[in-house]
């Protein structure tokens, strides 16, 4: 049980972080379909960075520092990659769905091409394995109680940094002047413009934050749940995050709840073979994999009338239009 809940947290944190990435972009009026691609680039950049630092002789004792440095690097990488999307969507007023699709095609292709050509391999790994470098609370600790065991035994610091970032950015989006302005640009950009807000700038900021978050999400995903392996894929996690975002109705608190539910399912599919009770039910792991998507579809069907999707998302802002 402890193990299951721990796993759920590991799956949930990158999921909600990337879903929040989607919120920042869509609230500013840009549909970010490229979440999956940005995650892939983030995971690739992070593993490449860690590997490079390891080869340069970074001491193992400072593993936590390396992990956090990697987080910063991947945030920058993700933000830079997302500039491709914002440039096409804001400056060129191109179709955002096509731009996002293009980045989703580009990211795995570039990652795999470099891994193949430069490292002569089909996947990029760090030296040694991720737990031995970065996992905390691995020793024989005495029991910390049920909650304590879940939270502080065999954990990664990035999980909690991720949660902190999630909370801080959610507060910024909902409780500050900047957040209000950003959301205005996704609801009614003309109105926002009429009171002197620079819609283009706000959309650039929203998408860039989105890219940074998705990059970090990809990195956290690859380090904590995929043993720091980059192989040009995050197994549809970016699209799952999109589902979480819609399921959570573009609101941080709902997304956190939805993300936990989805993380649980994702986790069930990963561990169901090891838990006797679930194994005896005889439900295929692939069914657990499908479940989040099916639930999202059903929820969409029932709630589409009440959907709180930002009204101006996907529409390029044109100053001359009314």
């Amino acid at each position: 049980m402890v193990n299951l809940l721990q796993q759920t947290i590991l799956f949930t944190v990158p999921l909600i972080l990337v879903a929040l990435a989607g919120v920042f972009a869509e609230r500013s009026g840009i549909i970010n379909l490229a979440l999956e691609g940005i995650m892939i680039i983030g995971a690739f950049g992070g593993v490449l960075f860690i590997r490079g630092m390891q080869n340069a002789g970074f001491p193992r004792e400072l593993g936590q520092l390396l992990l956090i440095l990697g987080l910063i690097v991947t945030a920058i990488v993700g933000a830079l990659f997302s500039l491709l999307l914002s440039f096409s969507a804001i400056k060129m007023k191109a179709d955002q769905t096509i731009g996002g699709t293009a980045l989703n095609l580009l990211a795995p292709a570039i990652a795999l091409f470099i891994i193949n050509v430069v490292f002569l391999d089909s996947r990029l790994t760090i030296n040694g394995d991720a737990p031995s470098w970065f996992m905390l609370g691995r020793g024989d600790l005495e029991s910390l109680g049920f909650i304590g065991d879940i939270l502080f035994r065999k954990f990664y610091i990035t999980t909690y940094i991720g949660i902190a970032i999630y909370v801080i950015l959610s507060v910024i989006l909902y409780k500050t002047k900047f957040g209000l302005r950003l959301r205005a640009c996704g609801e009614h950009p003309q109105a926002a413009d009429s009171v002197g807000i620079n819609v283009y700038k706000m959309r650039y900021i929203g998408t860039t934050i989105s890219g940074a978050l998705a990059g970090m999400g990809g990195y956290i995903y690859s380090v904590t749940t995929a043993n720091a392996v980059a192989d040009g894929s995050v197994a549809g996690f970016g699209f799952l995050a999109l589902a979480v975002m819609i399921f959570g109705n573009w609101k941080p608190l709902n997304i956190a709840i939805a993300g936990t539910v989805f993380g649980l399912f994702k986790c069930l599919s990963a561990v169901s073979a090891q838990i006797p009770f679930l194994n005896n039910l005889g439900i295929s792991t692939y069914f657990y994999n499908m479940l989040p998507y099916i639930i999202t579809l059903v929820i969409l069907a029932f709630t589409s009338k009440k959907s709180m999707a930002p009204k101006a998302e996907g529409i390029p802002y044109d100053k001359g239009q009314r």
Partner: protein, 449 residues
């Protein structure tokens, strides 16, 4: 009001809209290839700083560029696989691309963005393989099995495509979101299905796990007809794909039904006002798009010798499905154009695999990179057209003085004029440098203005 006959009477000229569309597609293609070549060069320059494993000589990058451009003809510089075989391979790879391209194009023409092609393609895959194998095992004639498997795949794809259509029509949910969901449901379903259905797994070949039996084992294979091409996989499937492309063209442009579909796409409310059922048309066009994608899968896997690897299918969606989108975009959603766009994509794919064989670059993903860049740039077609027209503000000085806007033809001439006038100004500044400072200030201002 516009004169409806004007368009018909006007002779096709350089400045016609169609020419500009093709030109902007060519610009995207050119820039994509240039980007790919640049990447090869950069990697050759910097690879030794990233890893100790490989140091590609810069000379190899030029060979690589040549291979990318030569594509199916690249065996001319490196030997290996014969050109005829590569051309056959290109035709075979183009077959499913034509179908997914048609799927995306048809949906786009009717106002929908079908990103669900990978899922529909997967449903076509699983249906065509399992039906063909089941019938084949039970001793049904190969030809009949082929037909039944083909039709079953169409039905499966159409039903799968219906789902986003129904959600759009009855719940007003964006089809992009539902398509993404159905894609991943299909991906998990495929792995689930083949992992349970032991009779379709190839357990006879040693060291091969996770592959299905080829349909050719039971005599279900697309006839090769006259398309031999040095023993490549090319077969009659490409002809079926071309026929279907023509069929979609006729459907969209020459029938009432096609007109209704397009009308609902361009203005749902106007179509409703004219007495068309918008809901029915949305569902039908998604079903058609789904069926077309599934045909792509059927034509690919019913070739007879293709094994399907299902073990990792739940982790990644088939690239062919997504590549339908660039095919449709490059073809400007013209069904006939998709044939050529798909052939071009297949050509690029061959370039990628040839790069792997002929040079030190051990990867075929360069073609995916180029395709991705082309998709990215193809979204700028409006911008490219405006540049060709000389309308864009970046190139506003390209307008002639009397305000007439006569396109790219005189662009270079005007550019030269502008430069020479700038030079003149510079000379004036230089000459005035000797004169007093107040005057100099004046000229500077003039120059800036």
């Amino acid at each position: 009001m516009k004169n409806p006959f004007k368009k018909k009477l006007a002779l096709p000229s350089l400045s016609s809209d169609r020419t500009k569309t093709i030109a902007s597609s060519l610009v995207s293609i050119g820039m994509g290839i240039v980007f790919g070549c640049l990447l090869l060069f950069l990697i050759a320059c910097f690879d030794q700083f990233i890893s100790d494993y490989q140091d590609i000589p810069v000379g190899q990058s030029f060979k690589g560029m040549l291979v990318i451009i030569l594509g199916v003809f690249s065996s001319a510089i490196g030997g290996g696989i014969s050109t005829a075989y590569l051309i056959g391979d290109m035709l075979f790879r183009a077959t499913p691309l034509i179908m997914t391209g048609l799927s995306a194009a048809l949906a786009y023409k009717t106002g929908l963005f079908n990103i669900g092609a990978p899922g529909q393609y997967l449903m076509g895959t699983v249906t065509s393989i399992s039906v063909a194998l089941t019938l084949g095992m039970n001793g049904v004639n190969g030809f009949i099995s082929w037909i039944v498997a083909f039709l079953a795949a169409i039905i499966a794809g159409a039903l799968w495509g219906c789902i986003p259509g129904l959600f759009k029509a009855f719940f007003n949910v964006n089809e992009v979101i539902t398509s993404i969901m159905t894609n991943w449901i299909a991906a998990n379903f495929v792995t689930w299905f083949f992992s349970t259905m032991k009779q379709f797994q190839n357990t006879l070949t040693v060291n091969k796990t996770g592959y299905t039996i080829t349909t050719g084992t039971y005599g279900v294979a697309t006839p090769k007809l006259f398309l031999n091409f040095d023993g490549s996989y090319a077969n009659g499937g490409i002809l079926i794909a071309i026929l279907l492309a023509v069929g979609v063209y006729v459907l969209l442009n020459k029938t009432t039904f096609g007109f209704e579909l397009k009308a609902c796409g361009s203005n749902k409310n106007a179509a409703k006002y004219a007495g068309m059922s918008a809901k029915r048309n949305i569902v039908l066009s998604m079903a058609l798009a789904g069926g077309l994608s599934a045909v792509g899968a059927a034509l690919y896997y019913l070739q007879g010798d293709i094994e399907y690897s299902w073990t990792n299918a739940y982790m990644s969606l088939p690239q062919v499905g997504f590549n339908g989108i660039p095919v449709a975009l490059l073809a400007n959603c013209n069904p006939i154009g998709t044939i050529f766009a798909a052939l071009f994509m297949a050509y690029l794919n061959i370039s990628g695999s040839q790069l792997r064989i002929l040079t030190f670059y051990d990867s075929e993903y360069i073609s995916n990179i180029i395709i991705a860049v082309i998709v990215y740039l193809s979204a700028f077609s409006v911008f490219f057209k405006s540049v060709i027209n000389g309308e864009h503000k970046l190139f506003s000085f390209a307008k002639s003085k009397d305000g007439e806007n006569d396109g790219a033809k005189n662009f270079i001439k005007r550019f030269a004029d502008k430069i020479s006038s700038l030079k003149k100004n510079k000379n004036t500044v230089a000459a005035d440098k000797q004169s007093d400072s107040a005057e100099k200030e004046c000229v500077k201002e003039d120059n800036n203005g």
